[in-house]
């Protein structure tokens, strides 16, 4: 840790002792959230999320492809994340690094494990032809908590996704005019807690992320079940903090669900 981060860590810790944060938020308070749907006309679905100054755009493309051999009766979901080089002075162009791979896989797990997409309805010809749903996360500005912002944008974009209708004529798939909604069953919400000293905070922004010991993210489905978890960072959690974070995530997800009307 550099001298500056050490000083900052101390300042943040002192504020947390008084239940306060650098940006004046409460410990369990999210930053202001803005959600815009359908901003990319070329994509079958899209969403833009602003979480404080963190900005993420997700575009959905739906294409025809082959199913995996072990799930012949299910469509395919693929999630990818791009940390666009202008999103942070520390980002560099190049193939996805471990951070963007982790981000994509955590977003993927929330969607996949909650069974959000009714993948059985995406089958055109069992074992041969299915719809493949590409979820591409583009981080445009990094100001902390990419996981929550990206998961929110991905779920919002999926619920805004329309795919073209089709019919099968003499074994050939023909696209018809008109669109239908991507078949969805759930709307998972992901909440991340960071640990600084012995305090847990929700939605850490960049200054807090830099000094945090560790973070833990929970994806919560419509019935308050936990469907994915990821711990990250160089520090550890005490078992009691793990359970506390899970309870916080459950409550915050409920609160957000009400706000988003999901």
């Amino acid at each position: 840790m550099s001298i500056i981060t050490k000083v900052k860590r101390k300042q943040i810790e002192q504020l947390l002792e008084k239940d306060n944060r650098l940006d004046g938020r409460g410990l369990l308070e999210h930053r202001e959230m803005k959600l815009e749907l359908g901003l990319i006309e070329r994509a079958e679905g899209s969403a833009r999320v602003l979480l404080g100054k963190t900005e993420v755009v997700v575009g959905i493309k739906v294409e025809m492809g082959e199913p995996f051999s072990d799930t012949p009766n299910e469509g395919v979901l693929t999630v990818n994340a791009e940390l666009v080089p202008f999103a942070s002075p520390n980002y560099e162009p190049g193939p996805p690094d471990e951070n963007s791979i982790e981000l994509a896989r955590v977003v993927d797990r929330g969607i996949r494990e909650s069974k959000m997409i009714d993948t059985e309805k995406l089958v055109i010809e069992p074992g041969k032809k299915v719809f493949v749903v590409f979820v591409d996360v583009y981080v445009l500005n990094y100001d902390g908590n990419l996981i929550d912002a990206s998961a929110l944008a991905a779920v919002a974009a999926l619920s805004n996704t329309k795919m073209s209708k089709y019919e099968i004529e003499e074994g050939e798939v023909k696209i018809r005019s008109g669109y239908e909604q991507l078949p969805l069953k759930k709307h998972p919400i992901t909440v991340t807690c960071a640990k600084i000293g012995n305090k847990l905070i929700v939605d850490p922004w960049v200054e807090e992320e830099q000094v945090a010991d560790a973070r833990i993210s929970f994806a919560i489905d419509d019935d308050d079940n936990i469907c994915a978890i990821q711990k990250g960072g160089r520090g550890y959690f005490e078992p009691s903090q793990v359970f506390e974070a899970a309870k916080i995530a459950k409550e915050k997800a409920k609160e957000l669900r009400k706000k988003l009307n999901w």
Binding site: E102, I226, G232, Y236, P239, V242
Partner: protein, 252 residues
């Protein structure tokens, strides 16, 4: 492709491999298996066979990665192409890159990183055979390899998973249970410090089931921990024993 079994737990409450819900698979650990490495360990965890080895602290490569206040920990988790049913491409998959990251973050809290500024420690984990729970086996072996290399540590890191199959929370899922079951919760911890250093989950669990699974996995970690210490002692005792017998020979 194998047929999916309909039931994972039979009428007697036993699992497909005959274990009780809270029973671990047989474990075998051996420390000091790669002579070139500074520390190494081999673990057999059910059908999992994993080797972990440590090089360092040594010079940082590439140089610009060096840190002024602590060492750099690098970790590579990799599965051999023949470790699974269908041949896996030896190129690192996205899964392996993610696991390398979370495994590194699970080991880092245990190491006194600040003792070796401007250096690098390499942890290399190779899965020779996989049967579910390879990240836990990898972490357990890597912690042994680190201890074997003599790098000062706050505690060993022990790992174990719990999960849910047939509506029951069970310990240490093997491959079929992981694939057919409804949730998997791998946990790594430093048992002596009561610190959780890795926690992941996929599947669907209520909060109550989650709490039960984490507690069960932590109990598993403690059992693994005892075996780790045993394995380290065994190596030390045999090495010491060999030296003593050599000394005796000289005396004669």
């Amino acid at each position: 492709m194998n047929e999916k079994p309909e039931k994972l737990i039979d009428k007697k409450g036993l699992r497909l491999d005959g274990r009780k819900p809270d029973e671990l698979r047989p474990l075998k650990m051996e420390v000091g298996v790669i002579s070139n490495a500074n520390g190494s360990a081999y673990i057999e965890w059910g059908k999992n066979k994993v080797i972990a080895a440590v090089y360092g602290p040594r010079e940082v490569h590439p140089k610009h990665l060096a840190l002024q206040d602590r060492t750099v920990l690098k970790c590579r988790y990799h599965m051999a192409s023949f470790s699974v049913q269908e041949r896996k491409s030896p190129a690192p998959s996205r899964r392996e890159i993610e696991l390398s990251k979370v495994i590194r973050e699970s080991l880092e809290p245990a190491i006194f990183m600040e003792y070796y500024p401007r250096t690098m420690i390499d942890v290399i984990i190779e899965v020779l055979q996989a049967d579910g729970g390879t990240r836990c086996a990898g972490i357990t072996a890597a912690a042994l390899a680190l201890a074997d290399s003599g790098i000062p540590m706050r505690d060993l890191v022990a790992a174990c998973a719990a999960g849910k199959i047939d509506n029951t929370v069970v310990l240490d899922l093997f491959d079929t249970e992981d694939k057919v079951g409804s949730a998997d919760v791998p946990v790594a911890m430093m048992p002596n410090l009561n610190a959780v250093t890795l926690l992941q989950m996929d599947g669907i669990l209520t909060y109550e089931e989650f709490e039960k699974a984490v507690n069960m996995a932590m109990d598993g970690c403690k059992t693994v921990y005892a075996l780790q210490k045993e394995a380290l002692k065994t190596k030390y005792v045999t090495t010491k024993g060999e030296e003593e017998s050599k000394e005796e020979e000289v005396e004669e």
